[in-house]
Symmetry: C2
Subunit: 339 residues, 2 copies
């Protein structure tokens, strides 16, 4: 689908290394640390744990091949203050990986040159991984063989990619055949392939997911996006849900949040969210069921996290965990028995 992305990466996080803002960088650090030589940040920014802060020159010395724009701008556009860093990387021979809607090609350097011209001059490549140029099919809704699991959520940024990747890593370790199907820019960066579902033409959403997750004897773990309750992105979540024809869903949730990402809407009730996902998901797979709830409890004390998990397990009668804090085993082990 794209020109081959070259590893290892150096991750740029600008001046805002909060995990939520630096989602792309954090995903790479967590899941492919062996492919990340370090990160680049402004002098006054906070530090990231378990990874070196570097200059571009250091990164080159450590073998970096690609410079990853690791932060996500709310607007979907590339932020102006990142451009000098991008220019520096290109001039040092690095490819650039950009997960924003806005392509890098036409952006201009301080001297008025486009990044496309600059990168050509230095023999480097601009990868706009949030763009998909190939032809996609219209969805058919036809049943297909194999088992598929989709992560869904009460909001955006509540752990769907993390949960999917944790489950994939865990099952792989246990010799259960699984495959990770990436649907967002971070997932694509990690997996090296996928479909940026929110960046394709809307008519093809379900068809794109059908094509991405064909019949397979491995469990296909599909990275979810958005939420059926988010006023900006619910349509994307539904296209993904229908195309996935998932046998299993895992509901992801951050119990410390009151308001949905970037909008003035309350986080939906877990029970409502679960019921709506199953109701709509069963349109294309009548046997769909929930096999777990995955929490992001980072804002809770360990005791509070544990009692939250216990309460939800009692209420929903499915395994509940925080995969980052307590591991994915409770959900994964139960699921593995079914496969």
């Amino acid at each position: 689908m794209h020109k081959k992305i070259q590893k290892p990466y150096v991750l740029h996080i600008g001046d805002d290394p909060r995990p939520e803002k630096s989602k792309i960088a954090m995903g790479a650090i967590t899941f492919i640390p062996e492919d990340c030589v370090g990160y680049i940040a402004n002098p006054d920014s906070l530090s990231l744990p378990n990874i070196n802060k570097l200059s571009i020159e250091d990164a080159i010395q450590k073998g970096a091949k690609s410079f990853v724009i690791g932060s996500v701008a709310k607007s979907g556009a590339v932020e102006q203050e990142w451009i000098p860093h991008i220019v520096n990387a290109i001039e040092n021979g690095l490819d650039i990986i950009n997960g924003h809607h806005q392509k890098l090609n036409a952006l201009k350097t301080a001297s008025g040159e486009t990044l496309e011209d600059l990168s050509k001059k230095h023999g480097t490549t601009l990868h706009n991984i949030r763009h998909y140029e190939d032809t996609l099919p219209i969805g058919t809704g036809k049943p297909r063989k194999g088992k598929r699991l989709l992560t869904v959520g009460t909001d955006c940024s509540c752990g769907k990619m993390f949960t999917s990747l944790s489950l994939h890593a865990y099952l792989t370790k246990k010799n259960v055949k699984s495959r990770f199907a990436a649907t967002g820019q971070s997932g694509i960066l990690i997996a090296g392939e996928g479909v940026p579902i929110d960046a394709i033409v809307s008519d093809y959403m379900s068809g794109a997911i059908e094509q991405l997750t064909p019949e397979s004897d491995a469990l296909t773990i599909i990275e979810g996006q958005g939420s059926l309750f988010h006023p900006a992105y619910a349509g994307v979540s539904l296209g993904l849900l229908h195309g996935a024809q998932a046998d299993y869903i895992i509901l992801c949730h951050n119990p410390a949040k009151d308001s949905m990402l970037n909008v003035d809407y309350p986080i939906p009730d877990i029970a409502d969210c679960l019921a709506l996902n199953l109701k709509l998901g069963r349109r294309t797979n009548p046997n769909q069921k929930c096999v777990g709830i995955s929490l992001n409890t980072s804002a809770l004390s360990e005791d509070d996290a544990k009692s939250c998990i216990k309460k939800l397990e009692t209420e929903f009668k499915v395994p509940v965990t925080d995969p980052y804090r307590f591991g994915i085993a409770p959900i994964a082990d139960k699921l593995a028995e079914e496969l």
Copy 2:
């Protein structure tokens, strides 16, 4: 949004003039007959009523400025057998209006020239009205003033555009201020502007509709698309529903159909479809309500159509009509009282 489309039109329907296949042509004939000089079809195709069958030369003589590709190919691509007609039109100085996903520009004539080069040579314009190049915003879900109405449906192609345009025409005649907001290629052809919602990047679906239907003192009548139950297009319908923040919905339905457009899925129950639209629609407008059911009864006898209408009125306690057969007045008059 696009280069100005020049009227009047000549409509090309190829060899399949069934209303469903020639949706774009039928829309123009029905709603802007004064802007259509006639239609072009293969010699052995059926005839359309109330409009002249012409050659390109006749069309030019009658003042045609643009050649409209009036049929819709299932694949979303332009059909090969239409190309000689398009070439003939360009060589005769007509602009081409194309509502398919596939752009005309790179398609080739029998002699290997691209349509783009051919049209440049003849000083004509290729309008790909299913493409939208301008920047769109992400949805906010913020409440906005004014009243909006959205047509929704149990399936694709069940009368959403027809109902919207009938209502707009009726209210305009009665001096009730209304505005038609087009979301598909036929509607855009008729209105001269709009957003092709199924052709934009999926992340922007709700935001595009928010932008298309700003605060207004006119009733904004929004053309619906697809169905929340269609396995290929439900995501588009939900993006549209959320972005519309509609105060009113009209449910459109064809009682003679068993199976959804192009897929092996049953048409949903009217009650289920209505309940789901209201449930999801109320996420962005808690006061949303249904103000009518609009039927396409073309496959029923007049008696059967009338008894179907009566039955649904009793069951759903809203006005029910077939706007093509019996007029939109039952729904429109009741609605006008509320405005």
